[in-house]
């Protein structure tokens, strides 16, 4: 087999698979987002219709106009961005010292500490979100504990509000922040810090002027890995959220499963995608830059 032929054979299968099951589906979503909702199977009007005057194109931006005109969608969009952004910051504030702590821990403890960060990532996401319900609900563990101590006299509203959604996102995505930060901090050349100390730099100055700038790629990777999936999150706002924590991922789910309005759900998906294109492009550059 010639070299070129072999290359083509290696590439063909994954390329075709990804084209058919990843790229083409988006084109279909785009197409359906331009059609109208209809009663029937499937529940939308065809884009190209065969009528008395021959073939005609029926595409409209009505769905997008509807999204822009409905306050619910705007609020859900902004909410999703807000929850994802604030949670990313909290993940960074907790994840950075954790990653730095693991790097500086005694060598023999490092493997175990790292495994303990990775392990929750392998366990069921749904189950970990569920664990918080038992802790936070009205007669849950926290409230019972505080009541028993006499610190509060009636249960605090901990569940189904913004607090529990933030907590759920930070909890679920923390490993995604710690791992890239660990990778970046582990590569840090310690002699740079020694040099800074020799030249009279205080530890916090050395941190701000040496460690922090050098770990920026890790911060960027971790933040994107938390932010992007958090924007589209459905499970957390559904199980831990309340009426005022509506996020766009849950709106899409409800439009599809409850209202059975496929064209609107599709236009929500496209709008979300447009929003995420830039951060997703950054992730690709970071991923491929590292391996090159």
């Amino acid at each position: 087999m010639s070299d070129a032929l072999r290359r083509r054979a290696v590439l063909a299968l994954p390329y075709l698979w990804l084209l058919l099951f990843f790229l083409v589906p988006f084109l279909i979503v785009l197409k359906i987002s331009l059609s109208e909702s209809a009663v029937g199977v499937p529940p939308y009007t065809p884009l190209v219709q065969h009528g008395e005057g021959g073939w005609s194109l029926h595409a409209s931006l009505d769905n997008y106009r509807f999204l822009l005109g409905d306050k619910l969608y705007i609020v859900a969009y902004l909410n999703a961005l807000k929850f994802a952004a604030v949670s990313t910051i909290f993940c960074l504030l907790l994840g950075y010292p954790m990653a730095y702590g693991i790097v500086r821990a005694p060598r023999r403890a490092r493997g175990l500490l790292l495994l303990l960060v990775i392990l929750p990532f392998w366990t069921s996401f749904l189950i970990r979100v569920y664990a918080w319900i038992g802790l936070l609900k009205g007669n849950g563990l926290f409230n019972n504990f505080l009541l028993a101590l006499g610190l509060i006299h009636e249960p605090l509203p901990l569940l189904n509000n913004a607090f529990s959604v933030y907590l759920g996102i930070v909890y679920s995505y923390l490993p995604f922040m710690v791992l890239p930060l660990f990778a970046a901090l582990e590569r840090l050349d310690l002699t740079l810090l020694e040099a800074a100390a020799d030249l009279g730099c205080r530890p916090w100055q050395a941190f701000l002027r040496v460690t922090l700038p050098l770990s920026l790629p890790g911060i960027a990777a971790g933040s994107l890995l938390v932010f992007i999936p958090a924007v589209g999150e459905f499970v957390i706002p559904d199980l831990l959220g309340g009426p005022d924590t509506l996020m766009i991922g849950k709106v899409l789910w409800d439009d599809f499963f409850t209202n059975r309005d496929w064209p609107i759900a599709s236009s929500v998906a496209i709008a979300m995608l447009v929003l995420l294109l830039i951060p997703m492009g950054l992730v690709r550059r970071l991923l491929q830059g590292e391996s090159a």
Binding site: R6, R7, V10, L11, P14, Y15, W17, L18, F21, F22, L23, P25, F26, I28, V29, I32, L94, G95, P97, M98, G101, R104, A105, L115, L116, L119, P120, T123, S124, L126, I127, R128, Y130, A131, I133, G134, L135, N139, N144, L174, P175, E194, A197, P229, V231, G232, F234, V235, L252, F256, A265, S266, A269, L276, M280, V283, R284, Q288, E290, S291
Partner: protein, 286 residues
């Protein structure tokens, strides 16, 4: 002095691990609670484990989930290995930028978008060519394979990037055909990455609620779908018991795989030394 754990970092580590494991520990403790009320302790009992074993819905869904996860992870391993290999070794070909995007985008794509788009594809395909007929295990496997392929590709690509090619070159010099070099040299050397990739694809599939909900039909209900509807109805000690069993299985698997991969890495390192000796040999003779 520089390379030391400061008290602040030690405290943050402790806080982080309590935060990560506190909820999980509470989940396990209350799975052994005699009371139906998940948060009131009424003595030790394994009653919920017994009820869990007789729960037909959960047992059926577990079988469906395992079937989907094994099929999807195996397919993803094959496709992802090819994709990762192509991305790392073929630096230039037409459509490489598109291929690179397609192979990494599923990693970060919000699940609701992936799920919706695949479902719409399946509906359109069924309308157009009559395949796949209806939705069920097959369509979930296709969806999970697409997601898993991206993860395997990234892992394999990273492994190949850190790969010492001298062994492959030596085999080629000695007259082995490229196909044989791939199966006899390359594949065994990246085996730890393949194991990690398969396990990751398997776990992602077993864990996925959103994509499975979009792409499944009435004939197939996966375990996360059953857990989700049960959680929506309220907290149930059976779910705690299920979670505990799941956590135990995952911990055993990850630790065992970690050992295996660690052993593989050690073998690779000694293999690397052999490669160095092979390289040095001609010089010594010359």
């Amino acid at each position: 002095m520089i390379n030391r754990l400061s008290p602040f970092l030690a405290v943050m580590l402790a806080v982080g691990y309590v935060f990560l494991y506190g909820p999980i520990v509470s989940l396990i403790v209350y799975s052994f609670n005699a009371s139906r009320l998940v948060t009131v302790w009424a003595g030790f009992s394994t009653r919920w484990y017994g009820e869990l074993l007789h729960n037909e819905a959960i047992r059926g869904a577990t079988l469906v989930s395992l079937e989907v996860a094994v099929s999807a992870a195996t397919l993803a391993l094959a496709l992802g290995t090819l994709a990762g290999y192509a991305l790392q070794r073929y630096r230039r070909f037409r459509g490489r930028a598109l291929f690179g995007t397609l192979a990494t985008a599923p990693l970060v794509m919000p699940e609701v978008i992936t799920g919706l788009s695949l479902l719409l594809l399946f509906v359109a395909l069924e309308q157009g060519i009559g395949w796949p007929q209806g939705r069920g295990i097959l369509t979930i496997v296709i969806a999970h394979t697409t997601l898993g392929t991206a993860y395997v590709a990234v892992i394999v690509q990273a492994r190949l990037a850190a790969f010492d090619r001298s062994l492959e070159e030596a085999a080629l010099d000695l007259g082995a055909r490229p196909m044989k070099v791939f199966f006899v040299i390359t594949l065994p050397l990246i085996a730890p990455a393949l194991l990690a990739g398969w396990l990751l694809a398997f776990t992602l599939s077993l864990d996925d609620l959103v994509i499975a909900s979009f792409t499944s039909g009435p004939s197939a209900t996966t375990l996360p779908m059953v857990i989700f509807s049960s959680i929506r109805l309220g907290v149930s000690p059976q779910i705690n018991a299920l979670a505990t069993l799941f956590l135990a299985a995952v911990t055993v698997t990850v630790v065992t795989a970690g050992r295996l991969i660690g052993a593989g890495e050690a073998r690779r390192r000694s293999g690397g030394e052999e490669a160095v000796r092979i390289e040095e040999a001609p010089i010594a003779h010359g």
